[in-house]
Symmetry: C2
Subunit: 416 residues, 2 copies
C-alpha cells in the first residue's frame, strides 16, 4: 500500500524569501509532525545546500508554539540558497551525495519550497531518485512574490508583497502630493520579467490614492513616451506618482536601468542581471526635463519581507500549500507541485489546490496578459484589479512583543 511509506522527511526553502514562505514551511512541518508514517521531520539549512552539507535541523525538537510563530516570521527561517544544480544526466555528483544523505536519515519525503528555479531543482531530484530506484516522494511547494510560476492561478507570497506595495504606494501618494509646488516621484518595484508586482501598485489608485502611471516589463518601454506621459500629468496636476517595474526595457530588450548607470552590472548564480537604481535615474531625468522637485524610491527588500502587512488570504493559502504537499505525498503523489485554482462562487473568491507535474512548471514564466495592460502601456486594466484585489484581503493576527513583531525563535538542533 502506497499510503504506508514510512520514513523521515526534509523541508527545504529556496530562492528569494517572502513574507509567508515560513507559513508554508509551517504547513509542511506541522502536517508532517502529525503524520504517523513520517518518523522524523528535518529542516534543511539553506535549502539543497543543507542536504549536500549534511546540515539538517530536527524540527521534532522545536517548541510547537515557536513553530506556530513561523506564520508571523518573514524571510526563510531555515535559510535559503541560490544554487543551480547540474543536470543529473551530465553530472550526478550532487545527486549521489543527496542520495547518500537521504539514505543516512531514511528520507522518504522531500518538500522543496521555492520559485521557478527551485521547481527545476525539485524536478531533477525527483527524476534522479526515480532513475536509481530509491523510493522518495518529492513535492514542490510554490513560493514567489513575483507570481510568475506557470500553471497556478497565483503564488503564495505574491498577495502579501502586493499588499505591501499597494499600501506603501497609497501612503507615498499622500506624501508626494503634500506641497503645492509640485513633485515627481518614481517608485521602483521588483519583478524582472513579470509585472504582477508593479501592477499591484494600481490597487492603491483603485482604492483611493496611488500612482498616476504604472509601467510593466511585459511591454516595451518608450522613454520619450514616458517623459511625455509624466509631463502631461505634471502640467495638469502639479504632482505625479509613477510606479515602474525594475525590469522595464526598450524594444531591443535592453533594461532601462542600464541606460544611465555607470556601475558594472552583476549577474546572480542563475545568470539574471542584478537591477537597481532605476527610480533615481528616471526621477533625475524628469528633473532635467521639467525642473521639478523629484524623488526616486526603491522598495527594495522591504516589499518581500513586509510580514507586518501580510495578506490573510495569502498567509492561509501559504499554510494550505505546505499542508497539501504533505498530504498528497502521503497519499502516494510524487514529482508534483501544489498549485492554486481560483473559484468565484456568487461573486466570492475562493481557492482550491491542485497538483501539477513538476516538469510542466519548472523554468517557465507566467506574465501579465497583454490585454490587462492599457493600450497606452502606462497602466493596468480593471481585469488586473479584479484578479489581484482578492489576494490582498484579510489582516492576520500578528503577535507582537513591545509592539514590535514577535518572530519564531527556533532551537535549530542539528541532526547527527
Amino acid at each position: 500500500m502506497e499510503n504506508t511509506l514510512k520514513g523521515s522527511c526534509i523541508i527545504g526553502q529556496s530562492g528569494g524569501p517572502t513574507a509567508v514562505i515560513n507559513a508554508s514551511a509551517f504547513g509542511v512541518i506541522r502536517t508532517a509532525l502529525d503524520a504517523d508514517c513520517i518518523t522524523k521531520v528535518y529542516g534543511a539549512a539553506n535549502g539543497i545546500k543543507g542536504v549536500l552539507n549534511d546540515r539538517l535541523y530536527v524540527m521534532d525538537e522545536e517548541d510547537p508554539h515557536e513553530l506556530e510563530l513561523l506564520k508571523n516570521t518573514p524571510s526563510s527561517e531555515l535559510g535559503s540558497v541560490r544554487y543551480k544544480i547540474a543536470d543529473p544526466d551530465k553530472d550526478d555528483t550532487d545527486y549521489k551525495r543527496i542520495l547518500e544523505i537521504f539514505k543516512k536519515y531514511d528520507v522518504r519525503y522531500f518538500f522543496y519550497n521555492g520559485g521557478n528555479d527551485s521547481m527545476d531543482t525539485c524536478e531533477k531530484i525527483s527524476r534522479y531518485m526515480k532513475n536509481v530506484g530509491y523510493e522518495c516522494r518529492v513535492m514542490g511547494v510554490p513560493k514567489t512574490i513575483d507570481n510568475d510560476l506557470y500553471g497556478t492561478d497565483h503564488c503564495p507570497g505574491f498577495g502579501s508583497a502586493a499588499k505591501y506595495i499597494a499600501t506603501s504606494c497609497m501612503e507615498v501618494s499622500k506624501d508626494a502630493r503634500v506641497y503645492d509646488t509640485g513633485m515627481i516621484t518614481v517608485i521602483e518595484i521588483m519583478g524582472r520579467h513579470a509585472g504582477w508586482l508593479a501592477g499591484s501598485a494600481a490597487l492603491a489608485s483603485y482604492c483611493g490614492s496611488g500612482p498616476d502611471l504604472v509601467y510593466l516589463p511585459e511591454v516595451n518601454f518608450d522613454y520619450e513616451k514616458f517623459c511625455a506621459d509624466v509631463i502631461e500629468i505634471y502640467k495638469k496636476q502639479g504632482s505625479v506618482l509613477v510606479a515602474v517595474s525594475e525590469g522595464i526595457h526598450d524594444s531591443n530588450g535592453k533594461f532601462i536601468s542600464e541606460y544611465g548607470s555607470n556601475l558594472a552590472k552583476e549577474k546572480d548564480a542563475f545568470g539574471h542581471a542584478q537591477l537597481g537604481g532605476l527610480a533615481v535615474q528616471l526621477a533625475d531625468e524628469m528633473k532635467r526635463r521639467t525642473g521639478a522637485k523629484v524623488r526616486g524610491i526603491e522598495l527594495s527588500l522591504l516589499q518581500r519581507c513586509g510580514a507586518h502587512l501580510a495578506s490573510g488570504t495569502d498567509l492561509n493559502e501559504a499554510v494550505l500549500a505546505g499542508k497539501t504537499a504533505v498530504e498528497a505525498a502521503i497519499n502516494g503523489e510524487s514529482g508534483k507541485m501544489v498549485a492554486f485554482e481560483r473559484e468565484i462562487i456568487n461573486g466570492e473568491y475562493s481557492c482550491k489546490t491542485k497538483l501539477l507535474p513538476l516538469e510542466s512548471v519548472a523554468n517557465l514564466e507566467k506574465k501579465v496578459p497583454l490585454d490587462w495592460i492599457t493600450p497606452e502601456g502606462n497602466n493596468v486594466t480593471k481585469e488586473f484589479i479584479d484578479y489581484a484585489l482578492p489576494l490582498i484581503q484579510g489582516q492576520p493576527d500578528r503577535p507582537v512583543e513591545n509592539s514590535l513583531p514577535r518572530y519564531a525563535r527556533l532551537k535549530k538542533v542539528l541532526a547527527k
Copy 2:
C-alpha cells in the same frame, strides 16, 4: 473676561508631513468645532501660504466621520508648505496680508502645526499681532518625525516613524541574513542633525533582530573606523546590517553623502542641503573592500508616511497636542507651543502636556545626548532604548476598505 474671546480659528500644517500630523489637526478641529467661543473653523490650504492666498477650507462643512478618519490619514491633508517668512521688523508685507485675512474672517485663534521652522513662523506672527494690537491667540502644535524640537520630551510624529523604522529594520534583518554566502546591507534613515530616528533602528536589535551597527550624526563619522567595524562583523557573522543617519558627517562637518556623489546637491527653502544616496554609496564602498554582496536601502518618504504602522501612543498624544492647544488658547494663552513631559509612575510611562513660550523653542534643535551613544560611536545605549521604547507602543485601529487603508475624504469647501 479672556475666556470669552469670540471669533473664528485657522489651523495650518507646515513642514515635512508625518503619520500623525493629521491626528493633531483632528485634535484642533474637533475641539474647536465643539467650542462655543469659536465661531468658524478654517483649515489653511498649504499652511501659511493658504492664509496669504486666501485659500481657507471650511471645516464646519465636513462630515464628522470623515474628520475622525484624519487620525488614520498620513501626510498633511490640508497641504503643507516650506516657506521662510521674513522677520516682521525687516519686511512686514506678509504680515500685513495675514492681518488683512484675519480681519476678513474674524480670526481670533491661530494654530500652527509643525517643527522648528514652523514654530519660528508661529512666533513671528504672534509677535506681529501683539505689536499691531490685533487680539489673536497664536499657538504652536509640535510635529516632527525628527524629534528635534527643543523643550519637549518628544514630538508627535516621532514614535510612529520610530516604529516604522524599527519594524522595517527587523524585517530586513531577517531577509538580509537568509543566505549563507553573506551580505552587507546599509539602511539610510532620515534625520539631518539629530539621530533620534537612526537610533530607533536599534529598537529592532533590542527586541530580537536588527542592525549590528548604528551611526548617528551627533558624533563625527570616521570612514575607516566604519569600514573596520563592518569588516569585523562580516568576518565573524557573514552578514551585517548597518543603520546610518542621512546626516552623518566627518570631523570637518562634511556630509558623508557628499563624498562620492557626483550629483549637484540642492538646498531647500530653508537652506538645508538635500541629502540622499548615502546607503548605496556606503554599500558600494564595502563591496569594493570585501567583495561581499551588498544592498543599500533608503527608507525615504516611507518612514514618515507609514500610518499603517502608527504607534497608538504617538497617535493619542498627537490628538492630545491639538486639543490642548485649543483649550489653552480658549483659556487665554497665546504665543506658546504645546510640549510633552514624561512621567514614569510605578515603571509605567505616561505623558502630560505643558506650554512653552514659542521664542524658547523656535529654531533650536534637540539632539541625542552624547552619553546615549556608545563610546565606539557605532550604536546607542540602553538609555536610548528606555527613552524610545514607550513611544512606539500600541496599535491603533486602522480603518480599511478592501484591506487597504481608508483615508479621510474631505470636501475642502473654500471660504468665500
